[in-house]
């Protein structure tokens, strides 16, 4: 028995010393889309995040590809939590994957920092103290688009989005701020590339404007086909279909389109200038809004680590909540449901030399939070 207790004591000492040594280290599990359709988004988030934590010896990152499949994302999360013993998870791009992974993750006491997906459920009734969204609540950019549509004098919009959680949030967000009537409302298949049928409906609907949310390759197809269709209606959408990674593929069809974003490469602050410059020299391309979100996620993590140890969950959470880092977006803070309060800008697609890019034309919504704060009991 005595032998047993000494061994136990020795083990305990060993345990405590190792936790002392590890106290300032954080193990991050990044699950994101790195192959197949939509991999450009995941790669940008990863690259932005890695740039932010570059040179920081206290953070180790395990990166895995979810292939944009919910079942694979769940498996990866289980493995990272149970056998890799990560402290923080991040990286998921798509809302349907986030819905599959986040609730189980945060209920097991891990932190989840979302660099992209912000489904309404996780902002409202399903909010959790360990879940932080560094990007936006899904509705946000679409709300700003609705606000912009009012100021541009649109009265009758045709709106479309894919049939999945973020698509529903998108149309809800637009309708929440848009005061005019709807000429039509369609949910398309997720991953659909051909919009001939929808464009014919737009032509027949008598709309005076089109709002669409079609992230990734879906939006490229839509914009090209829409501009070929000869329908001369103003288009407004969130930044996802007009961002740096995609503009090149859309081509001149995108010129002049107004889109809404929480980030733009011409936001005038030091953190953003440094980010754009560093990103270009590190990866040889212009950053996208996804990259900026990944970058801010990394900076948020570092700011919390400087205040508290990750094992001390309550202190670490408080440190995260303070959001004490200089964001590429300038002013940034968390609302009560751990989603950002930030400015949403209206941008216009322009040509800088031969490169298509965006410039800010106005602030769409100032210090904007989200509509689900009151539903969140935290």
């Amino acid at each position: 028995m005595k032998k047993f207790t000494t061994t136990l004591a020795a083990l305990m000492i060993l345990g405590s010393t190792s936790s002392f040594a590890d106290g300032h280290k954080v193990k991050v599990g990044m699950i994101t889309t790195l192959s197949g359709g939509g991999s450009g988004l995941g790669i940008d988030v990863r690259d932005g995040f890695m740039l932010a934590i570059k040179g920081n010896k206290n953070i180790s990152v395990i990166t895995k590809d979810d292939q944009r499949k919910p079942d694979i994302a769940v498996q990866l999360a289980d493995k990272m939590i149970q056998s890799d013993k990560v402290d923080v998870l991040t990286g998921i791009i798509w809302s349907n994957l986030a819905m599959a992974v986040v609730p189980a993750t945060v209920n097991q006491g891990k932190f989840y920092l979302s660099p992209n997906a912000g489904p309404s459920k996780l902002a409202g009734k399903g909010c959790h103290k360990n879940y932080f969204n560094v990007a936006w609540q899904n509705d946000n950019l679409h709300e700003a688009a609705g606000g912009y549509a009012n100021s541009a004098g649109f009265k009758n919009s045709f709106i479309l989005a894919p049939n999945y959680p973020a698509g529903k949030d998108a149309l809800t967000g637009y309708k929440r701020y848009f005061k005019g009537s709807l000429a039509g409302e369609i949910y398309t298949k997720l991953g659909q590339k051909d919009y001939a049928a929808e464009i014919a409906q737009i032509r027949a609907s008598g709309a005076d404007s089109v709002f669409f949310f079609l992230p990734g390759g879906m939006g490229i197809g839509f914009m090209k086909q829409f501009s070929q269709s000869g329908i001369n209606l103003p288009v407004v959408g969130p930044a996802f279909s007009f961002d740096q990674g995609i503009l090149k593929a859309v081509g001149d069809a995108a010129l002049g389109v107004k889109n809404t974003s929480q980030w733009s490469k011409d936001i005038d602050n030091d953190a953003n200038k440094k980010f754009v410059k560093d990103f270009q020299s590190e990866y040889g391309r212009l950053p996208s809004l996804y990259a900026s979100q990944g970058y801010d996620t990394g900076k948020l993590l570092i700011s919390a680590m400087s205040k508290a140890k990750v094992k001390d969950k309550d202190k670490f959470r408080d440190a995260l909540r303070k959001a004490d880092f200089s964001s590429t977006r300038g002013k940034f803070s968390f609302d009560k449901n751990h989603h950002p309060i930030q400015d949403i800008y209206v941008r216009e697609v322009i040509k800088e030399g031969k490169i298509l890019t965006n410039k800010i034309v106005s602030v769409g919504l100032k210090d904007h939070s989200n509509a689900y704060v009151s539903e969140c009991k935290m």
Partner: protein, 305 residues
């Protein structure tokens, strides 16, 4: 619901169908002649689109790009057939499925190594941009009319190739009795390579033509591959005629269904849920069609029983 809109959607369905035909013709030929289930057929669609985007980027010519898509996919087809696929003809279908699935992964990652993960730019030529008035009130995209025209042209070409030429006779003979035709002194492995390259190049052409109005990106071939399989199951495996009729049927059902079903449901449901339920059922419609056809004709419309 106006008749103009209906007619335009019908054209959209036919256009979608002719594209599916280019994919499924190759797939059904390869299955019919070699008995090979080729899951990697969608990769040739992708290779065609990327070759086209590459050449269009270098030369600025859409027509050269189309040519590049045909030859790029054909070259890839010949290489893959002689190096890998040739070893699979004698194996059972499960081995073929496993090996060609592995090919999908290899080719997708390979293309991503060469071109990166971001979609490439490929646009339609200036003189096909815009619309064309067909009848009084109906205006339709010139490029989509061009796609329909190309599809029909290739269908006619294939018809002549199969029925009127020596190669066609051999292909038909290969479909009917593989041992007999090699016993008669036909170089069967060359025939297989030609058929495989032909199928691959048709898929490549489809990839380039569709890539120009959608997006050229890694993994673009897999969604359309699933539809191509639905088409050849409906049309009867191995039958080119079946592939043509099946393609048009699937194209029209899918397009008309996903637009008019929500409208139909709005008559007796509230608009928001009609939209959501309608689009969900709309995307199932072609599979329902397939199930119905298989109940009536278990080997497809033109399949051998």
């Amino acid at each position: 619901m106006s008749s103009i809109l209906f007619f335009e959607q019908l054209l959209n369905g036919i256009q979608f169908g002719t594209m599916l035909f280019l994919m499924s013709a190759g797939l059904t030929l390869i299955f019919g002649v070699m008995g090979l289930i080729n899951l990697a057929h969608g990769s040739f669609y992708m290779i065609g689109a990327f070759s086209a985007a590459l050449i269009a980027g270098l030369t600025g010519s859409f027509w050269l790009a189309l040519l590049a898509s045909l030859s790029g996919a054909a070259i890839a087809g010949v290489l893959i057939e002689t190096l890998i696929i040739r070893r699979l003809y004698r194996r059972d279908h499960l081995d073929q499925v496993l090996a060609t699935f592995a090919l999908i992964l290899l080719l997708s990652e390979g293309v991503r190594w060469c071109f990166g993960a971001f979609p490439l730019y490929l646009d339609i030529p200036e003189n096909l941009n815009g619309t064309l008035p067909i009848l009084d009130d109906i205006i339709y995209s010139k490029y989509r009319l061009f796609i329909i025209f190309m599809g029909l042209l290739i269908a006619t070409g294939l018809y002549f190739l199969i029925t009127k030429t020596r190669l066609g006779v051999r292909i038909r003979a290969g479909q009917n009795d593989r041992q007999m035709i090699s016993a008669l002194g036909v170089d069967i492995s060359k025939l297989y390579t030609i058929v495989f390259a032909l199928g691959a190049s048709l898929a490549g052409l489809a990839g380039a033509m569709i890539g120009a109005i959608q997006s050229v990106e890694v993994g673009m071939g897999e969604p359309i591959l699933i539809l191509a399989f639905v088409v050849i199951v409906i049309g009867g495996i191995g039958s080119i005629k079946g592939a043509l009729i099946g393609s048009i049927l699937v194209g029209i059902t899918d397009t008309i269904g996903r637009i008019f079903l929500p409208e139909l449901l709005k008559i007796f449901m509230e608009p928001a849920s009609a939209t959501s339920v309608g689009s969900s059922i709309g995307s199932m419609l072609i599979y329902i069609l397939m199930a119905l056809i298989l109940i009536i004709k278990p080997s497809g419309l033109f399949g051998k029983t």
